[in-house]
Amino acid sequence: MDIKRRSFLKGIAGAGAGVAATPLISGTALARESYKLQDEHVGMLYDNTRCVGCKSCEVACKRANNLPVEPDEALGIYDAPRDLSEKTMNIIKMYKDEDETAYIKRQCMHCVDPSCVSGCPVSALNKQPNGIVTWDADACCGCRYCEMNCPFNIPKYEYNEFYGKIVKCEMCINTNLPKHGQPACTEACPNEAVIFGKTKALLAEAKRRIKESPHLYVNQVYGEKEGGGTSVLYLTKAAVPFSKLGLPSLPDYSQASASESIQHTLYQGLIAPIVIYAGLAAIAFKNRSGDKEE
């Protein structure tokens, strides 16, 4: 009897360990690939060789999406956000060293396989069929896991509200996009430094520009592969690499796919938990009488 119980226990422990180790050893069983860019996904292409840093896009964004100004500290009269925040979801930042200046436009990248969507416990963040990643006020519980896991630090919770919202770029999906057919920032840009379109077409355009003037650009379209790809793509001038613009260098798979591969292996169909539960219950049932005499 004693021996039987032990071997049973061993069997279960073995099964448990096996389940836990599968994704790490074989890497295949239930591995979930990074999602792929779809034909209907829309996005933006920003090319800092064309940007003059006029910030028209920032102003247009705030106007279209009804965002408050963030006055500068010195005079308190100009809108001068220093970084993305709960009041600013699109910003132009500048990199400067002795001989080079370069701009970078930051907003949600609308990742092809977003961490924020994968992590959100209550489906408040969703990737729409057109690829735009949206936020749903009715669903969100304000856990701020999205703030923690977004590789680009995009979602911003309103810490100074008693019941704050998550603020992030939604490519004007409810504001400028239905009205004018494109986001406010691309519409406002005087130089076509940032343009709107189907992401696949934008990627082709970006590659065309690099091919046409290879001396002008770093030979990389940021967002083609980074973190499994993003719907917003960047080009940068040859002298200033992306790392200097504050963009992280990410692997070419999405963290969401890596994380969900492990989750799915452990919980697919709840089979492993149910088997282990049944085993534990059986053992506890067997041990039940002996326990009382103690």
Binding site: P23, C120, P121, C141, N287
Partner: protein
């Protein structure tokens, strides 16, 4: 049946009054938080969205309360019935710990009404590790409540074994105990692996000293040795029946299990550190590496304090060893969520005083409730 008895004694002792004061201060700031928002009392910000509330309440708290889970495992699964005397206080402490973890989740979440969406099918997001963690915590609180119910019921059962509603419910619970116990072991395992899994999605924002695909496994393993340690430390503080040789022996055996589990944990951790190529990073002089080594110094001292049979039979070593190992495990969690986490290079986070006071106040309340319950209800076994 075990022979648990109420501890008795006065309820409002000076330590309890002091803890109540801490609780009131925390409660005051909690009210402020609900009126003026999270930013008004805490240093949480866009670069550190999770701070001491989540870490204290959910990560550390939930790991500390794993005593209920390991004792249930030892008693009912490995069938060491003699350890039964440890079950009740461990389960009670787990119950309180998890309730507070759930509670701190509630005041940490910015749109708390949305927490209900965890239970509305339309909103459930089953790919999310956080969803899994939330469901596990809720379910486990329920299970723990069922596990502790017999102690409460015994208070209402008539002397001399007559039947009344309490007695029949008690008997029924005993019958289905094996079902609850199995949940009581499964759920915390899932939940602990989830707490590790949460950090996996941070990707590169978590330093390679801690980031690994095995982080879920490491959280489960470390929660097991921490579970043993918390049972031992609590025993030393509350029961301290050191005159009984068998009692000290049992503590020693549990400590031995904790010892081996902690070794296993350390081995996997270090394999992953080398595999990640993070060993160099550990050698650099930085805030991160400082905390990293603090973690390991604690683990090593803890292991040393309880290595060998002689030390295992010394109550002093058992108590110190379990406290030090426990602190090492806590620091591991603190490190993965705060110290090793960096979203914007150069920006650091330190909790504000009101933020800390809320956590401390709520922790004080937890201890008050624990002490009060063991005074009134038959939880603790003394020979």
């Amino acid at each position: 049946m075990d022979h648990a008895k109420p501890v008795g004694g006065k309820i409002f002792t000076p330590p309890i009054l002091f803890l109540s004061l801490l609780f009131l201060i925390g409660f005051y700031f909690l009210v402020v938080r609900y009126i003026y928002g999270i930013g008004s009392v805490s240093n949480l910000s866009h670069h550190q969205a999770w701070g001491v509330w989540k870490v204290m309440g959910v990560l550390v708290g939930a790991a500390l309360v794993n005593g209920g889970y390991v004792t249930a495992f030892v008693v009912y699964i490995i069938n060491k019935g003699t350890y039964h005397r440890f079950v009740r206080q461990a389960v009670l402490f787990s119950l309180l710990g998890y309730s507070f973890a759930g509670f701190s989740l509630a005041y940490d979440t910015g749109r708390y009404i949305g927490l209900l969406n965890f239970f509305i099918p339309k909103y459930m997001q089953t790919n999310s590790v956080l969803f899994e963690v939330g469901i596990c915590i809720t379910a486990y609180i329920l299970i723990l409540a069922i596990e502790i119910l017999p102690a409460i019921l015994e208070k209402f059962m008539p002397e001399g074994g007559q039947q009344n509603w309490a007695a029949s419910l008690h008997a029924y619970l005993n019958k289905i105990l094996f079902l609850t116990v199995a949940f009581g072991v499964l759920l915390p395992t899932m939940h602990q692996s989830g707490l590790g899994g949460l950090a996996f999605l941070f990707g590169q924002k978590l330093s390679p000293l801690w980031q690994t695909p095995l982080i879920s496994l490491l959280y489960v393993i470390s929660s097991i040795f921490m579970g043993f340690c918390i049972v031992i430390a609590l025993e030393c503080l509350t029961v301290a029946d050191f005159k009984s040789k068998s009692y000290v022996n049992m503590l020693g055996t549990m400590m031995k299990m904790a010892f081996y589990v902690a070794i296993l944990y350390s081995v996997i951790r270090w394999i992953e550190i080398f595999r990640n190529g993070a060993a160099g990073q550990a050698m650099e002089l930085s805030f991160e590496s400082l905390f990293f080594w603090a973690e390991w110094i604690l683990i090593v001292i803890g292991l040393y304090l309880v290595s060998g049979q002689k030390k295992l039979s010394s109550p002093k070593n058992l108590f110190l060893g379990s406290c030090v190992l426990l602190t090492g495990g806590i620091l591991y969690r603190l490190n993965t969520y705060i110290i090793g986490y960096e979203s914007v290079p150069g920006l650091t986070y330190f909790p504000s005083l009101p933020e800390l006071m809320i956590s401390i106040g709520m922790f004080a309340l937890q201890i008050i409730i624990f002490i009060t319950i063991i005074k009134i209800f038959p939880v603790i076994t003394k020979e």
